[in-house]
Subunit: 120 residues, 4 copies
């Protein structure tokens, strides 16, 4: 494996970056699905939460990629937002796309929660 | 004044958006100045803090612009980052550009701190 | 006026940054309005265009704030996106909020178009 | 494999998103390395180009994740920026970290170039 700047990032931080990037991707790509479905899927509160979650996940990932020593603070906010977004996605019982989005949010919430505790 | 979506935003929130946008602009435009100066101005910790501050300010502004009810959490993180960035800029005594950056950070820290308290 | 890093930015670039920031703010704050209205306002193509426009406006502003000599390229993309978003907003005849959004997009398209031509 | 919103994205677009995300990660994590190294690594033009490249890669990825039909335009700008960043990183002969960054930029430039041609 070639030596890149990313290879020197602490493995636990690296995993958290991966979860944040994944959750950002899933939330943002779930947005057009929700808008197409309409109804409860396209309600303002739900769409806003998907965008909030995608936004803070990217911000948390960028803090970690820059090697910022302030990432714990942003990861704490990210964990809380991801948790709320997961719960909001859980209300769409039987919808596989929303279920997958909730799962991504929960994984990211767990990972960011650990990061926030370790770097409080 | 024409009616725009921004006109219906609560005035206190509007002021906080303005401070966040201003602080984002000042931090980001201070970056090339620091890199040109070199030395302590271009040290990794300082440059990272300028980028962190610009990043979280934009994120906080975007939460408020979207009308998110989760902006308090992000404003709390933003207030803390702005405070740290202001202190870091204060170390460049006699440097007018860094002083102006510190002032923008302090105004944004105050405004975001109030927002975080009001929407905790 | 205190000397800040922003004061040394070329006045034409400064005006373009202001238009981009304004257009980003208006598009992003028009989003919750559209989602509340529902119907044609909340259609996927329209919401996506508002988010696209807000996104590229912020990106163009950030290139100019960093003093990048590659901003012409991004301003060209921004001008085209703003023009499309303006036309999409124009379809909501008699809707003052959408009209104001279209106006912001047109101002930004003009300003970014000039910047793209000057720095091609 | 669970059905997620990302699974329905066209495979060619999906690969381009992956390249953009990877290039964003590598450029942003190369930044602290460059600032630590100092000298030519930390020169304003080089640091600005790394940030420009990271920024436009994220923007291009987000356009594709949202399913925007305007992503071709942004991918064209991204391909050009990535190409310029790769050439700038190539000047650091014998530096494995910079070489890896150049490679990521070239892969992303190729992928975005194809996307821009296909969706012009």
């Amino acid at each position: 494996m070639p030596r890149t700047a990313m290879n020197v990032i602490d493995p636990a931080v690296r995993r958290c970056i991966d979860e944040c990037v994944r959750c950002h991707e899933v939330c943002l790509s779930t947005l057009p699905y929700c808008l197409e479905q309409g109804g409860r899927h396209a309600e303002e509160a739900h769409v806003t939460l998907l965008l909030d979650c995608a936004n803070i996940c990217q911000t948390a990932a960028d803090f970690m990629l820059r090697g910022s020593d302030e990432h714990g603070r942003v990861c704490a906010a990210c964990a809380a937002l991801c948790q709320r977004c997961a719960e909001d996605c859980d209300q769409f019982a039987g919808d596989e796309v929303m279920h997958a989005c909730a799962e991504s949010c929960r994984h990211c919430a767990d990972s960011c929660g650990e990061m926030a505790t370790a770097h409080a």
